[in-house]
């Protein structure tokens, strides 16, 4: 049986506040906080002289080493890496193989590309590898550098204020006791064009043209039908928590924490209200923004850092994002 045995996270030093963004685009702290709950985020991107120049794998390595230390697992004991990102350092090779070189050279590295649900899909892969006894310990990483792909002009403010950079990692290990009870993952591709980035892509030949970088909605920058995403996320996330709890034979009362994907504080609040336990829903979006595949492991690591997670605690993880795709898991720490 598979169980999470340690979590770690890392975010770049560069803290970008809403006030900082207001210096380069038409926005305000009040506007951003009211719509998203975000007050600041960490970016590697050069802005107002704040920068780290770290790559995707650099963030992942730091988070991974913290997770390994907390799990009391040596890097050489890791049998495989599951690497969830949509923003790798290179098109080829994958960032997972680059992390493998730094952690335990030669081990396989699954490159998972499932956006906001990437960590949950990665959890499915890691659990399966451990349950099959293929590996005793698997390192699962969720990491993104989203800041470098944002439109930081007023034209892009609806998405630029939301997304951020960061990495979170957990070690999934074999255990005699049940760890990950149930995992439900679903998708509906009819909404594939409602949240994402159009180009560069291969529905048409690249290279890109100047038009792709210009105009009202440039193809190279994120696009999001915010109201539609909000509506579906607000419905699906509570539904998924209830379904996965029922499937695994637990209730919300049994949970110590519900750890949702950090996309919007209003969605997080609605989740707590719908489930009748707002105090159990963890949130750090105010300080970190939306780091896509990294949000959930960053939350897990923070909770562990704060001493608010004890062995045996029951957790529910839930996410919704591009695709549309959504999922939830129940696990015991």
């Amino acid at each position: 049986m598979a169980r999470l045995s340690g979590a770690g996270h890392f975010v770049p030093d560069g803290v970008v506040s809403n006030e900082d963004l207001a210096e380069i685009m038409e926005t305000s702290n009040e506007w951003v906080v009211q719509r998203s709950g975000i007050r600041s985020r960490h970016w590697v991107r050069h802005i107002l002289g704040k920068s780290d120049i770290l790559g995707n794998v650099d963030l992942a390595e730091r988070a991974s080493r913290q997770a390994l230390k907390r799990a009391e697992i040596l890097p050489s004991q890791i049998g495989a890496i599951v690497y969830a990102t949509i923003t790798p350092d290179y098109e080829w090779p994958g960032s997972g193989s680059l992390l493998a070189e730094r952690i335990n050279p030669g081990i396989p590295a699954y490159e998972v590309r499932n956006h906001c649900t990437g960590f949950l899909y990665g959890l499915l892969v890691a659990r399966t590898m451990v349950d099959s006894s293929r590996f005793e310990h698997v390192l699962l990483v969720g990491v993104e550098i989203l800041s470098t792909g944002l439109d930081v002009s007023t034209r892009g403010r609806n998405t630029a204020v939301l997304f951020a950079d960061g990495a979170g990692a957990v070690v999934v290990s074999q255990s005699a006791e049940p760890g990950i009870y149930d995992l439900i993952l679903e998708t509906d591709g009819r909404f594939a064009d409602k949240l994402g980035v159009e180009a560069p892509s291969f529905a048409r030949p690249i290279p890109l043209k100047a038009d792709d970088f210009e105009g009202e909605a440039p193809a190279v920058f994120p696009r999001m039908e915010g109201k539609l995403v909000f509506k579906h996320a607000s419905e699906k996330m509570p539904e998924m928590v209830q379904r996965v709890l029922k499937k695994s034979g637990f209730t919300a009362n049994d949970l110590r924490w519900i750890v949702p994907h950090q996309a919007n504080q209003r969605i997080i609040d609605m989740l707590g209200s719908a489930l009748g336990c707002p105090g159990k829903v963890y949130s750090n979006i105010e300080r970190f923004g939306n780091t896509t595949a990294a949000t959930i492991p960053i939350c897990l690591s923070e909770i562990q850092t704060q001493g608010k997670l004890d062995p045996g605690d029951l957790l529910c993880l839930v996410s919704f994002g591009a695709g549309f795709a959504w999922g939830a898991a129940v696990l015991r720490w």
Binding site: E91, P105, V112, S201, G323
Partner: protein, 255 residues
């Protein structure tokens, strides 16, 4: 219990106008029909592609709505997107096998689509450096699917998915690479000038790659679809590799 691989041999023609997801959906529809599986019966679809329709979300999300669903309520199966090149099929195969063996899912489809020639669309050869020219001459297009299911009565059966092995070897990172369009390592994404200068194009150092590979280099490279195409051609000891080097091998028998 044996996990079996049902490789419904089929062929489709596709053109420059077809989208990668359209090619994958047409093939998967054929495979499902030949296997007698309804799309609604799939628990999990795994896609392997480096050439998705959109930069985000992945190819799988564009592909699934194009299947020939009979159920008026859109079925919402799990959809995993893996981003590997030649080793992608082996990662998908190993995971697909294990997830069925664990009892989490019963019917899994693997779809591999790589239309690699599109990297060079609209680019004149006179603009290419030596490594890019080598890559252009070698990279090809391919798409293939296979279905994985549970065999309830495995007594006496020797076929199915055999040993699947995957590993990475980073010594090959300079021999076969593509630095963009997703490069983050410089602190800023590529600009239109970078694309105009061809910095997004794959590069191949053939002599170095040959030295690193344990097996013979294929004449053409179809990315994640390559090993599956080999499978459809009757080859049962498969080998694939991708930049990294991401290496995969598998032994199997096709039903």
């Amino acid at each position: 219990m044996t996990v079996f691989l049902h490789s419904a041999v089929s062929k489709i023609d596709f053109s420059l106008e077809d989208t990668p997801s359209g090619v994958g959906a047409a093939l998967l529809t054929n495979s499902l029909r030949q296997a007698g599986w309804a799309p609604e019966s799939l628990d999990l679809v795994i896609s392997c592609s480096n050439t998705p329709d959109f930069n985000q979300p992945g190819l799988i999300h564009c592909l699934l709505p194009r299947l020939n669903w009979q159920n008026p309520t859109y079925p919402q199966c799990a959809a995993l997107e893996l981003k590997h090149l030649g080793a992608g099929f082996f990662y998908a195969l190993q995971f697909g096998h294990d997830v069925i063996a664990a009892g989490a899912y019963s019917k899994v489809a693997v779809v591999a689509v790589d239309l690699l020639t599109r990297f060079f669309g609209g680019v004149s050869e006179s603009q290419l450096n030596e490594g890019q020219l080598a890559a252009k001459g070698w990279l090809a297009d391919g798409a293939a699917t296979c279905l994985l299911g549970r065999e309830p009565n495995s007594a006496g059966r020797s076929y199915g998915v055999g040993e699947v092995s995957i590993r990475t070897d980073i010594r090959g990172r300079e021999a076969f690479r593509c630095r963009a369009p997703e490069a983050n390592h410089q602190g800023d994404r590529l600009t239109i000038e970078d694309f105009n200068k061809g910095r997004h194009l794959p590069e191949l150092d053939l002599p170095s790659l040959v030295k690193l590979l344990p097996q013979r280099l294929p004449a053409t490279y179809r990315g994640s679809a390559g090993p599956l195409v080999d499978l459809l051609c009757g080859k049962l000891e498969l080998f694939g590799f991708g930049p990294g080097l991401d290496l995969g091998t598998a032994i199997m028998e096709v039903r």
